[in-house]
């Protein structure tokens, strides 16, 4: 079994590349069960009154888009079906609002929604924690009164009656968490808790352990757990998309890594030298 310990890692990489490639071309269509966390997320959004305002905290970057964008896409379908107004914003991740808006644009086009009326990209605005706090005091000051592309916000119908982020104006915050700043150190302590606006969170699989205690304590109303959560959410809103497509790859990759671990341990146990 020494061969198993000495195996060139490029073979390991080649096999996982082939496995994922095959399931992308020929999906297996494994059934996806809905977890209580995702059901809670869906129900929380569904319970909002029609036409409510939702602040979408796009705290993520390109590296996490594979897991986060399907969540935003599915959320946009559910939100626009309820005529919710979406305000996309972030003060920590420069790419997040742009990436999120590109996905929302596609859904909006499909559902006949208009930029500036049904959703707006408030953009990335520098300042991190200070800017998040400033949102709760004076939204125009925090955003400098312009959207991502420098268009005046005061001319947009969606901004009528919006002075700041508070409980009277916003019904929900949908914050992402892939690192710092994220839900744990921005959307929860700086927006949700001071204003009392309920917070739901979308996070990458890697950040689920960090975020779970906040969900268990009830500080998050609901949470989508990584790409699996996004896939379940896509199934719930009835718009299957990239997250569901990822699940077959994730399944086979998990199985492959498990088999590798078993093989490595068998090889290690059978070849190790017993102490004299």
């Amino acid at each position: 079994m020494q061969w198993a310990l000495d195996i060139d890692r490029r073979w390991i990489w080649a096999i996982i590349f082939i496995i994922i490639g095959i399931v992308i071309i020929h999906p297996l269509g494994l059934p996806i069960t809905i977890s209580p966390d995702t059901q809670q997320f869906y129900d929380t959004v569904q319970a909002l009154p029609d036409g409510s305002r939702v602040l979408v905290g796009a705290s993520f970057d390109v590296g996490a888009q594979g897991e986060i964008l399907p969540m935003i896409r599915a959320f946009a379908y559910q939100a626009f079906a309820k005529n919710l107004k979406l305000y996309i914003f972030d003060a920590g991740w420069t790419n997040g609002p742009k990436l999120a808006t590109q996905v929302v644009d596609q859904v909006a086009k499909e559902m006949g929604k208009q930029y500036g009326v049904d959703y707006v990209n408030l953009g990335y605005k520098p300042g991190s924690s200070t800017t998040y706090t400033l949102m709760t005091q004076d939204l125009m000051a925090a955003t400098k009164g312009v959207d991502q592309n420098g268009k005046s916000l005061s001319d947009m119908p969606i901004m009528q009656g919006v002075q700041k982020v508070d409980k009277d104006t916003f019904a929900l915050v949908f914050g992402m968490d892939i690192g710092t700043p994220g839900a744990t150190d921005a959307w929860l302590p700086l927006i949700s808790q001071p204003t009392g606006i309920p917070l739901v969170v979308g996070t990458i699989t890697m950040s689920v352990p960090t975020n779970k205690p906040f969900l268990a304590a009830g500080q998050y109303k609901a949470m989508l757990d990584g790409s699996r959560g996004a896939a379940e959410y896509e199934a719930l809103v009835g718009h299957p998309g990239p997250a569901i497509a990822q699940q077959d790859g994730a399944s086979l990759a998990a199985m492959y890594v498990t088999l590798l671990i078993i093989l490595a341990n068998i090889a290690w146990v059978t070849t190790r030298k017993k102490p004299a």
């Binding site: 390991i12 888009q65 077959d248 998990a254």
Partner: protein, 206 residues
């Protein structure tokens, strides 16, 4: 003076925030909001500082033809080229968007996707049942890995529930303890900075 002045400024800024935020009477004056606006402007200046710093470092590399100076030149062309383009077109301009969607996004995604390969080979080499703790770690990771993908429930119904329980109960308990410890530590460091006891951020030893 190089250390004393920044230290005094730090203490004054810290006290300003505490007084403006936590004393209700002062909070009514709106100082906190004004302070936040100032900070936002100062924060934006950091970007300029970054651009100046990169220009000096990589400009010298190019000027003196140091090893791999071509990469420095590419960096400067990209930084200033894309910056000028977005200033002219906004970030959603046609060329700016094309570069963003066809170069920046795929490049960044590719680097992140490489993790899948490294994690696979790392798992193969690292997860060994050398000790009892390592065995528990290995079993837990296999349960979670299979349980968070649909294949777990397909092979053994209920596998996903077990994975969820591991995340909700043992993980949440341990993580809560770690987070409380970290936040208390952060609070202690903030107090030390405020009292001028912690000076590592000013450079040199604390």
């Amino acid at each position: 003076m190089r250390k004393e002045v920044p230290m005094v400024l730090t203490v004054l800024a810290g006290l300003f925030v505490i007084v403006a935020k936590y004393l209700h009477a002062v909070d009514q004056l709106g100082w906190f909001t004004v302070g936040n606006r100032w900070f936002q402007i100062v924060y934006a200046m950091f970007f300029l500082l970054g651009v100046v710093s990169l220009t000096i470092v990589h400009g010298k590399n190019v000027q003196r033809r140091r090893s791999k100076w071509v990469y420095s030149l590419i960096l400067l062309i990209c930084m200033y080229g894309y910056g000028i383009l977005t200033l002219e077109q906004t970030v959603d301009g046609p060329e700016a968007n094309w570069i963003y969607n066809n170069i920046i996004v795929p490049s960044d995604s590719t680097v992140f996707a490489l993790l899948a390969f490294f994690i696979t080979s790392a798992a193969y080499r690292a997860f060994r049942i050398r000790t009892r703790e390592a065995t528990v770690l290995m079993i837990t990771s296999v349960i979670l890995m299979m349980g968070t993908a649909p294949i777990g429930d397909t092979i053994i119904p209920g596998w996903g529930t077990l994975a969820h329980w591991l995340m909700d109960v043992p993980n949440s308990s341990a993580m809560r303890g770690i987070q409380i410890g970290a936040y208390l530590g952060g609070f202690a460091v903030a107090l030390r900075i405020l009292f001028g006891l912690e000076r590592a951020h000013l450079g040199g030893a604390s």
